[in-house]
């Protein structure tokens, strides 16, 4: 795992991001992911520091924009493994528009939403998933609104193909879900209940202290518990991940905290497959097409040869430029 580890993490001691990082390092090791073929994309927040702590390609982007960047990477390089680290504010607030359509596009990537129910990096502001009544810098009298339920939202978007929830304090379940999400061909959305020891140290205490409060969803197509975990988390329910209606029911029940794979559908097509080019374009073909277009405006040689010479020289220069350099070089006609 050390081979994949980058800099030393600077998260707080006790932060759930450490567990998530460990799970990702373990995934990289177990899957032997080539570093040059793996990209971690993040937005802004504590969660989004993650790419810095891995020795892979990383893109620490703008607040709320991790998903469009990840989609751009995937469409241009579908051969790369793309993993997105985003937070509750990054994904469900400023990035909500991107999030909904990213689910719909179902591009093959794994999205980990570190949900600590607060804007932590900026020192305690209420986020869309903050519990109602939470006192913060932006809600001194307590958050007025009921929190958004990311699972219900994700399950209601068309083309959703993988929705799961995992707690950061049960590393085995967390790893199992992340691994299955990684292997799922499509948009794998995993909401990770992540502890913030600094600003909300007791938010998940009821679950940590009483394992009965966590409902573990087991199924041969989902996750299975080994004997030691089964001894501790005895509140289990068999749930077929392909049952969308039951998934929605479980996700929307306020009295339950289901953990496991809520929904999985391997038949939803991925956007990058649907819009795959039927033909590859070589530079020679692109040059041919461009020249054909330019020929429509070619000025025919006049008697003194002056008019056409300049344009011919331009075309020749453009053709030479295309041969030597990237096609994206701007030209007068394009501006």
């Amino acid at each position: 795992m050390e081979d994949y580890q980058g800099r030393t993490p600077r998260w707080c001691v006790g932060c759930g991001d450490h567990t998530i990082l460990t799970a990702l390092l373990r995934l990289c090791r177990d899957e032997q992911l080539p570093p040059e073929k793996t990209v971690f994309v993040s937005g802004i927040g504590c969660s989004s520091r993650l790419p810095h702590y891995l020795k892979m390609y990383g893109f620490h982007s703008l607040h709320g924009r991790a998903l469009p960047v990840a989609e751009g990477i995937k469409i241009r390089r579908p051969d790369l493994h793309v993993i997105v680290s985003t937070g509750d504010g990054d994904c469900c607030s400023i990035g909500a528009g991107h999030w909904i359509h990213a689910i719909r596009y179902n591009m093959n990537m794994t999205v980990l939403m570190h949900d600590n129910c607060v804007y932590g990096l900026t020192k305690m502001q209420a986020s869309p998933t903050s519990p109602q009544g939470l006192k913060s810098n932006t809600s001194p009298r307590g958050a007025l609104l009921a929190p958004l339920n990311p699972l219900v939202t994700a399950l209601s978007v068309a083309n959703a193909s993988f929705v799961a929830q995992a707690p950061d304090w049960i590393p085995e379940i967390l790893y199992s879900i992340i691994a299955q999400g990684f292997h799922h061909k499509g948009f794998s959305f995993i909401r990770i209940l992540q502890r913030c020891p600094n600003f909300l140290p007791n938010l998940f205490d009821p679950f940590l202290k009483d394992p009965e409060k966590t409902l573990v969803l087991t199924h041969p197509k989902g996750i299975q518990l080994d004997a030691s975990l089964a001894r501790i988390y005895q509140n289990q329910a068999e749930h077929d991940p392909e049952d969308l209606n039951r998934s929605r029911e479980l996700a929307s029940n306020p009295d339950l905290t289901p953990v496991g794979i809520l929904y999985r559908n391997d038949r939803v097509p991925c956007y990058e497959d649907l819009c795959k080019e039927q033909q590859s374009f070589t530079p020679a073909m692109i040059e041919g097409v461009l020249n054909k277009e330019f020929d429509k405006f070619t000025v025919q040689p006049q008697s003194n040869g002056s008019g056409a010479a300049a344009l011919d020289g331009f075309e020749t220069g453009l053709a030479r430029g295309l041969n030597d350099h990237a096609v994206s070089a701007p030209c007068d006609l394009c501006q």
Binding site: T22, D168, E172, R231, A237, S280, F281, T282, A329, D332
Partner: protein, 747 residues
Amino acid sequence: MNPQPSINAMNHATNGPLSIHFAGVADNDRSRTAALNRWPALLRRYRELASLRHDYPLILIDHGSCRGIESLTAVVNSLLHRVAPRGPTGERMRRHLLRLEQEIRSLAFRKETGRLSRLWSMAVANLTSQPDLSTEEKQLLQQDFDGARSALDVEGEVIGCDANTADRVMRAMWRRTDGARVARTTAHLCQLGIRLNDLLRSDDLESDKSRQPEALQGAFGGRFCELIDFQAMSRTLCGNRPHGRMPANRRKRIEWALGVLQEQKFFGVEADTELYEFAFESCSEALAEFKRRLPRMVDVIKAIRVAALELEHRYRDKMHDHFFGRFDAGSLTSEDIRWFPSYFVSLRERDCDASNRANLIEILSSDLPIKLVFQVDRLLPDTEGQSDTLGATAWRTQLASMAVNLGSAFVVQTATSNLCPTAERLADGLAAPGPALFCIFSPGEDSGLPPYLAAAAAIESRLFPTMVFDPGEGDTWAECFSLDGNPQRDRAWPVHSFTYQDEQMQALTENLSFTAVDFWATDPSFADAFRPVPRRLWSEEMVPLADYLQADDEQNSGREPFLLLVGPDDLLQRVVVTSAAVQFAQRISRRWRRLQELGGINNSHTRRALDEARQAWESEKRNLIEESRRPSSTETEFPAAEPSIALRVAAPEAGCKVEVPAPVPHDEAWIETPRCTSCNECTNRNNRMFRYNENNQSCIADLHAGTYRELVEAAEACKVAIIHPGKPWNPNEPDLEELLRRAGNFR
């Protein structure tokens, strides 16, 4: 139809029917003339083929359908299903569309060629310009035709059934099937070429040439160039250039691979490359070309593999140079050969000389991706009664069976009448790796029947049955061989009901078999084999040929086999067949029987095994019955069999709690490492007492590297409560009582 025997028209042989059967002597020309223009009774209903809905004309579909061909009937049926609503309007549209279909069919029968849209427009123009239609009727017709036309989503070439149909259909299907595969390979090679180019270009960007002022200016574009000092830029970049250029041998290797991929002529990677031709008219030519192109194929495969290794930066000179240095034609696998387009050879059996036959067998015994279409024009011997010493007829009719026995080629035998129902299997054969043989009976106009009917009759009469052999399906006959597509496969001859009127105008129905001799009767050159028998000479000794063939010699003694034919005046006639014809039918029947065995129909081995098993079972049962009837002589008591005790453990219901015994507490400190969340709490406190294992989860490194207090505090700080301090190891540590009390929370 009036079956009254035309007593005046017939002239019977002086020796009577029996002698005709045995002697097969032609005694007068009038009889011969009358024997012409007769059809087997079962084919009579298809005489006006142009007015019947059947599988022709065919449409060679441009895009969409995976089969590549569809019958006009199926297209119209699909259209009707979509556009003809229930009710009177739907009925009217259905009628109009069926008329349109009929008109298009008539055009095809009149040898009008072209695309469906063209024939559709012609048929619409013909129908709407009929003089006896009122204006309103014309408007309704046009409206319905326009509605159907807008819903029509099929386009392609319309072809009728003739001697060239098989070649046209198979060629079109081959282009479609192979074309899709070749397009995928071409796209893949284009991708490889682009990426190899990218590697070379990124290497070029490291070169001195790319840092010259002219090159930098060219990359910058047209605007604001005057503001940039490219000379200075060039000096700066050249001075600080990182030295990371590609090794020369690697560059040379990539350039070689790229060159091969760009210059090869198998796939259209470069737009103006003249590609190889893959359709041939002879086996010899195809084989020769394949062998001639083999070195180029080796180069292409090498280039693909080198490219894949280089793009993943996995090429190792020491290992791969040696491997590719020895890579030759013998190293090519069947997977490698599947990269390339398949070869298509279309042969007519009359043009197939000895050299072609030998090469054909060589191809069928190999792994070469060559698809052979063997068109048979004629199934019957050239002269009646001539024994097939030269093997010509056997070659025509038995080639598929010979190929099946070779075991390596995909084989389809069928006739042009069955191209639509077997389209999927034909497509499978064209897509299969390795060789494929398509034996297709394609009669022309000279066969005595319309080509479609002659083809259908050949299948019906078992003379040229449909069969498919796919060696890729498995190892057993049941998996590989199929006689699907033949009528009534479990019978020796298909049986159909036939209705006619007798002299009293009463409708009578009989079951008639369609035998190989019925097919024989359609060929005018064999008219001598059949002699009509006048009504007055019909006797009890005359038996239908099918019954005659089923009976043995003893039963057939004194009998005369006959066929029922229908003349042009629709009179039903009994014609006696010669003994040569009977032997022919027996040969065909035996051949069909052997095919049935291979296809698992009435398989003799299975029947024998079943019989033996049945006899053994019956014998055992009989013995048991006899034993039970015998009074028992002793008072032996047999203890009742104890019921087997099944130990069942009820599976827990979903959602219920699983009761598992709790772990036994022990005195030594321990950590539930698998549950560690790697939060650094304990390692930050004492990284000598606690350390991370290979999974980045905490475990006890050295218990004595810290105090019991540190252990208890770490347990209290652990958010997931996985540290269990156990009992202290140093009894002299201060405040042990309080620490033990606090540690008690973590037992």
